[in-house]
Symmetry: C2
Subunit: 123 residues, 2 copies
DNA sequence: ACCTTCCGACTACAACTGTAATCGATTCGA
DNA sequence: TCGAATCGATTACAGTTGTAGTCGGAAGGT
């Protein structure tokens, strides 16, 4: 749901709320990663954009707002992963897997781990 | 290389050039997918943006230009895949694989195919 | 009853994107 | 040779994004 795209900067905010919610704007600002130290107004702008995209909601707490995510991280991840697969791999999973496997230069341990995963999935 | 991001619309153009190059702007326009029938000026704008991003190059042919990709599809795909893994999976391959595998509901045939791939990769 | 401080709302503004129109030069068909 | 078609270059313009400043009102200290 909620097909409005979430931008990079907005995602930084979402990650904070996914880790802990509800939070005030000030709390969110305090939890920014060190390579992203934005001003409080910037954080508020991003929060209100996320509000209008229906990605978060807020509830009044006295005279400030408490923000919480409306879309789940799982949903977002699924959506973005699918987007990549569609854009670059013709919607097919296998070519992406092949690409990643090659790219990542998997260790034998990784390979065993994947094999274990696959066994579990076999119907 | 060339860390300028390629936008969605620009990617449509790159796909055409990756399939066949060199092409003139008009040729590119003629090969647009049916859900993306842009005007010729639009195609030219996108080509010139790709030029300034050093994603394509052009060579004069009489009074028009022949465009060719400068960055390879493989490189682009690798870059974007890594970007996704970094943004959403903490840079780790395994969680992405687990997510995709679950998401895609792999058939037994798919699983066998993957197992074959893995065997090939074992050192 | 004031002054400071804090909040959300609104405004700003440049870069990038999607989508195109227009213009000046050139070439090609008649 | 003259008008039409075609090219690349320039300009346009609204929406999104990154990043922030400002403003009016409310809360809280004194």
């Amino acid at each position: 749901m909620s097909s409005e795209r979430i931008s990079d900067a907005e995602l930084t905010i979402m990650e904070i709320l996914w880790e802990r919610a509800p939070l005030t704007a000030t709390d969110v600002a305090a939890r920014l990663p060190h390579d992203r130290e934005w001003s409080l107004p910037t954080v508020k702008t991003l929060l209100s954009r996320l509000l209008s995209k229906a990605a978060v909601e807020h509830r009044a707490d006295g005279r400030r707002f408490l923000y919480s995510p409306l879309i789940g991280r799982e949903d977002y991840v699924a959506h973005e992963s699918k987007r990549l697969v569609d854009r670059l791999f013709g919607g097919k999973f296998m070519p992406l897997f092949a690409h990643l496997a090659e790219q990542e230069n998997l260790s034998d341990a990784d390979i065993s781990e994947i094999e274990r995963l696959l066994q579990e999935m076999k119907s």
